[in-house]
Structures are given as C-alpha cells and as structure tokens.
C-alpha cells in the first residue's frame, strides 16, 4: 500500500493568533508555523502502518508558499519516504481553497499510483474540514473520516470513528481516503538521526501550472475580526451572596 499524506503548514497551535490591522486575515509574518496537528496524526498513522509492513511507502504532500518545504522536511524526519511540494507564490497561498488542494492531490494520484490518501480531519487555521470529502468525491473513492483507530485488512481498511454517544466501525475498500481525528495516535518527535536522514530524502517541487490545475479563488474574505473580549468576572464571598447575585441578574427565579 502506498500512502499519500497531506501536511498543511499552519500557524502553530501554541501561537496567540492576531488579526491584521486591515482585517484581511491574521498576522503570519515572523510567527511560528508547523504541521497542522491533525495532519501530523495522519502522518504518524501512515508511518506506523509502514513500520507494521502494512504500507510500503509514505509520501508527504503540501501545497502552499516556499516555506512549506520546512514542514515537508519535518514530515520526512518523522518517517515519510519522500515529499512533494506544489508551490504557489506566497501572495496566493492564503487564497488557496480545499477544492484547489483536492484538485492537486487528484493530479498527483493520476500521475503516480497511490492506494490511500491520509489527511487530518481539518486544518486548525481555516477549520474548513472539506479537503477529505472533496478528494474522495473527485476520485470517487470511499472515505473514512474522523478515524480514531485504523486496522489494515487485506484490500480493506477497518476504521473506527468516534461519533456522538459511541463508536462507529466501518470497512472501506482500497483505494480510500482517510481523515485522522485527535485520538488516533500520539505523533512522535523527530529524532536527530532521522532529521539527518531527512536531508537526503527526495523533495520534489512542482507548481500549480505544472499540474495544470485551476486555482482561481471561489470565495472572498470580507473581514477577519477578533472574538469579542470577555468581560472580567467577579468573586462572591459565599453561596448565599452568589444566589443573591444570580437572582439580581435574573438567572434564577426570585
């Protein structure tokens, strides 16, 4: 099984995101970026499958500005065998939409045979949650989204999904699209020997034009704004004071 894994470069989850003064987006200049955490989980699962000999090759994919190569190198250090970067100019990177990425993935899969596409369930920057379904639709492959457990089973993948109030176990035939949920696994740290090895692994670079895909934006960002600031709370001395306050505010019946 050859697995193609999407890794998106996003503002690091630990960064306190700030909106640009012109409200067209968030500040990304000089801000720590890393692999989208859900993509990291997807990558880890693919690498684990390879370690279990269930997968033969893991290829990391990223679409975006030149700096995406940093996350691809990290993916290589974490166990991917090679990487493909679909480069777009920095200025256009923020205008990329899930559909564009799905189109690019389709082209890659057409040129080179893959048995599965692993993705994070969503990216933590735009929370679009669309790429997985879109690529499954475009390729007409089965999809197994929000995976919390993956078991290879010959020509199938048995996938457990966390749903409201329980677990849903499905079996999808390969080739298939899989998206990773938070509890699927705990991604490893890249170790130094693997970082060194990653430098020698192949990183292929292509442009959207090379692939012949259309990346015209379909949506326009009107405004990005900060969430309203929460009002500071206050302390009460005891329970009876709390009840009085709640009554005053009309939260409980007088």
């Amino acid at each position: 099984m050859r697995v193609l894994v999407g890794v998106k470069r996003v503002v690091d989850y630990a960064v306190k995101v700030r909106v640009k003064p012109d409200k067209t987006g968030v500040i990304t200049e000089g801000v720590q970026h890393s692999i989208n955490p859900f993509d990291e989980i997807a990558l880890e699962e693919a690498v684990k499958l390879k370690e279990k000999k269930a997968a033969t090759e893991v290829v990391a994919f990223s679409m975006g500005g030149p700096k995406c190569q940093e996350v691809l190198r990290t993916a290589l250090a974490k166990g991917a065998d090679k990487a493909i970067h679909i480069e777009v100019p920095d200025a256009d990177a923020s205008k990329l939409e899930p559909l564009h990425v799905a189109r690019a993935l389709k082209k890659i899969i057409e040129n080179d045979k893959f048995d599965a596409v692993f993705l994070g369930k969503q990216a933590i920057d735009d929370d679009a949650n669309q790429t997985g379904s879109l690529i499954a639709g475009i390729l007409d492959w089965p999809q197994a989204l929000y995976a919390s457990k993956v078991e290879p089973d010959g020509k199938y993948l048995k996938v457990t999904r966390e749903i409201d109030g329980g677990l849903d176990t499905i079996k999808v035939s390969l080739p298939a699209v899989l998206s990773a949920d938070l509890r699927l696994n705990e991604p490893r740290y890249a170790t130094l020997p693997n970082i060194m090895k990653a430098k020698k692994k192949p990183l292929e670079k292509k442009s959207a034009k090379d692939l012949g895909i259309d990346v015209t934006p379909q949506t326009k960002v009107l405004e990005v704004s900060e969430p309203p600031v929460r009002q500071a709370g206050g302390f009460v001395d005891d329970v009876s004071a709390l009840i009085t306050k709640l009554k005053e505010k009309g939260f409980i019946k007088a």
Partner: protein, 600 residues
Amino acid sequence: MLSRLAPNAAVRSAISGTNAARFASAAAAPSKKDKPASKAVQDSDSFCMNLFRGKAKVEQVFPFPLNLDEERKETLQMILDPTTKFLSEVNDVVKNDENAETPMSVLKQFAELGAFGALVPAEYEGAGMNNTQMARLAEIVGSHDLGLGVIMGAHQSIGYKGILLFGTEEQKKKYLPDLATGRKFAAFCLTEPSTGSDANSVRSTARKSDDGSHYILNANKIYISNGGFADVFTVFAQMPIKQADGTTKNKVTAFIVERGFGGITNGPPEKKMGIKGSNTAVVDFENVKIPKENLLGAEGEGFKIAMNILNNGRFGIPAAMTGAMKHCIKKTIDHVTTREQFGSKLEEYGNVQEKLANMIAKQYACESILYILASNMDRGIQDYQLEAAIAKVFTSECAWFTCDEAIQVHGGMGFMKETGLERVLRDLRIFRIFEGANDIMRIFVGLTGIQHAGKHLQAQAGPSGAFDKVVDPALKKSADALDKCVSLFGRTVQDLLVKHKKGIISRQYEVVRVADAAIDIYAMAATLSRCTQTSKTAGSVADYEKKVANYFCETAAARAEANLKSVAAPNEAIVKTIAEISKGACAAGANPIAHPIDTL
C-alpha cells in the same frame, strides 16, 4: 613588564565557587607559552584587547559576523521545533525543581533530539552543529529550564569537551558516540575543597604505575555537576613531571576516567538554592587505575587543557541567559498589558515602561554579544577570551536584573511559585558564580587588558571616527559616543599604568571599574553592529531596533564614563576608607558597630 599579572591575580583572588575552574587564566596559558618564542610585542585583532590601547579595532565586530548558511539554518529549525515541543510538553521544569531531579527517562528522550551532542561531528553520531547553532539551541533550553541547561552544559560544554578538543582519534572513537547520543553522561572534575577560582592549586594526585601501563588516581572532587550519574569523567590531578634540568615538579594533568574503572564513589545530591533539576555531587576517586591510553593531552598540560575547555565552552552561558531573559520579558509583557491598577493598565505608567525598556535593551545587547562570540568562534578566531569572559559576566548579570525586575513588576504575584519567575531567579543566581565567578572574570578582563596595553605604551590618539564608517546613519550619535568612550578608555588605562605601574595588580578598585567600562563599551559596539545589520535587511522592523540600540548605548555610555571617571579621579581616600572599614570588621571578628539603642 606586567606579563605575570594574570596568574598572580589568580592566586591572590582565589575565592570559592561551584563546579568548574573559575579564573579563566586562559590568557595566562598562551602568553606563557608565547613568551620564550620572541620578546616581540604581540598584536591582537580582538576588539576588547585593542580597546585597552584606546584603539577602535572593529573588524571582529563589524559587520555583524552572524552568517548561517541555508542548510545550517534549515537543520537548526528542524531541531528547534521538536526541542521546543519537548521542553514545553514532555519536560516538566516545575516538577524537576520540586523533586530536585530530572528523570533519566526525560534525559534519554532529550538525547534523541541530539541535544547532548550538539557540537560533535556526525561521524561520531553527534548533531554536527557549529557554535552559532548550538547557541540558538541553548537559548531555547535556557528559556524553559536552566537546570536542564546545566545538565546539558556540564555534559558537553565541559564534561567531554576535552575529548572533543584534545582527544586522540582512538579516544574520540571510543567515547564520543556514546556521549553525543546520551547513552552515557560526562562530568568535569576540577573543583576541590581547596580549589575554587584558583585552578592551578588542585591537590588530587596521579602517578604512573611502575610498569608504566597505567596511572593511579586519588582525587576528592566537590560540586561536580552530573557527578551522581556520569559514566565518564574528565579529571584533573597533580602529577610529578620530570623537568629538563632533571628535577621533578608537580604539574596538573588531565585524564579520561570511566566509572567502570572502579574505586569511584559519589555523594548524595547537594541541596541547592536553584538549578535543582541538575545533579551536583561529591565524586571521590580512590586508587583508580587508569589505562595509559586515557591520558588527555600530554602529562603536565592539564592546566592549559582546563582553561581551554572553559574558555571554549563559555558561550553556552550567554546563550542560556539570553533565553531566560526572553522568558522573563514575555511574562512581563503579558502581565503589564492585562493588569490594571489605579484605573490604568500597568503598561501606561512611565516607571513600568522604563523597566520594560531596560529589560529589552539589555536582552538585545546580550543577544548581540552572544552571536558575535559564537560566530567569531565559528570562523576560527582564536583570540576571544576577553569577549567570552565579558559575555559571561554581562549576560549573567543582565539576566539577574531582568528576572528581578520581572518579579518586581508582577508585585506579590511575582513572589508566588505559580507565576514561574521565582524559580528562574533562584536558578539564575549560580550563573554569576560558576564557570568563572564574575568577580574573578572582571579582574581577569581588567588585568589581561591592562597587561596588553602595558606592552604597547604609546601616546593615545583622540577619537578615531572608525565607527562612523560602519554603522547605520540612524546610529551615528551612538557611534560617536562609543568612539568617545574608546578613546577615553585608552587614556584612562594609560594614566593608570603610568600612575601604578606593576602595582596595578593590587588596585582592584580601579581594575573592576575598568572592566565594567570595557563591558559596557563592548556591549555598545556589539549592539550597534547588530542593529546596523538589521537595518540593511529588515526594513521597517529595524526602526524599533534602532530605538532599542540607541537607548542601550545612551545608558551604557553614561555608565562607562562614570566608571572611567572614578578610575581617573584621585580616589586614594575612598580606597583607603574601604580597606579600613573592611579590616576593622575582620579584625573585630564581627561588625564593630553597636546597635543604635545601645549607643543612646
């Protein structure tokens, strides 16, 4: 005429410290070696050495020498990301501090990131970093956990540094792979009960066996970082060495000693004020048989080796300090932008603004000094012992100031453990003491420089205009102030030499002030160099930096001038009074002043 200044001062100023040899008589070692070669006066390209002659020698500072190629930058970034995550998610600094121990499992995981073999070449399983890359790594560690930083530094910056610098190919092959990967840990064993700052005074002994196959070591070493769990020790001991004239003389010799050799015991972890996560212990060596292959360098060369190791590893401290300051500044910014008192956010108050501005300016200067030092080491410059000593003193004191002010700005909250600043303050305290106590470093800087100037007595020219040519136009005023300081410094040192001649050795009042002025002047030069570099590349971001740089230079120039003024002024009365106050108390065995109630 003053060539013996530094060693004399070392002996006179011996004071006890922790963990490593303190007095960086590194300068003394090469100068002694060079002396017989020729009587000719040695010139130096070091900025600080030339400063003592009133000369603005700018090539090692301007242009800003930091220059990491793309590949090194990328490798660094790939190591930094997982390291940062490891430090914030796996390593628990609060627990390490409370339990006074960093778990071995955590160290093993840290080792996988290459953190214990930063400078070791890849052929010995190290990360193959250069000093600049390692400085950046140490900075990140310093901002999270200074105790862990000490474990890391004691291991590689001094513990096995001797093998890296002076080891034979066989020794490197045998030890470095295990040490670089953290499969084994190393410790540096110099300090003894009677040997603190004065490294040449070790009493431990080693002798060769009668058949010449091994050495027998007896040593009692104290305050040894990693001493409780290290497997490989770099140990210094006196050994009888035959001299050319047939007599025998004890000389310090260095050995690589494995715990497995037998006869090695260590005491329980010392209870300390800070860096509690780092293990510090007594290590005793009793009749330890060391195979002759484990001699490090040559017999009798131990002092030189010790000084070189310390000099070479010294930049790790400025790196950790810079990181710790960043942590404190971040906390301060978060606090002053949210905390309200008297109806305004703290950030609105001028006094708070001044504190924050000072913290930022000092951090900027420290970082500039650090990366000039690391980059100069990377480009093969050898003559950096003054710069390294200055970096150690300046950054450890700036970090202390910054953490102290951060706590002050936080008020009562800053005093609480939960805020995460009191631990940093406790951890920081040792950095002014170990690896060359700052007091000894000041004397070392002052006397080494004065000695250099003493060999070059000449009429001082006025300001040279050398900085005007190399700084950004927006920094011209600061450059002129720096130029003025350099020339004033040269004149002051010259007058001092004329006045005291050899007697300058015992004039510590003047020497420490000269050193303080040198520190400020060097910090100004470093700051201006870096800011000039940023303004070439960073566009509008540089405007803020220019303000920071100019502000730092303004305050540093004022301090330097004040220090030089008190050196130049006739201050015999003050020096005499200081001595009398101190002597009076020491003679009485207690402070002789009675309580005011009793004198009523």
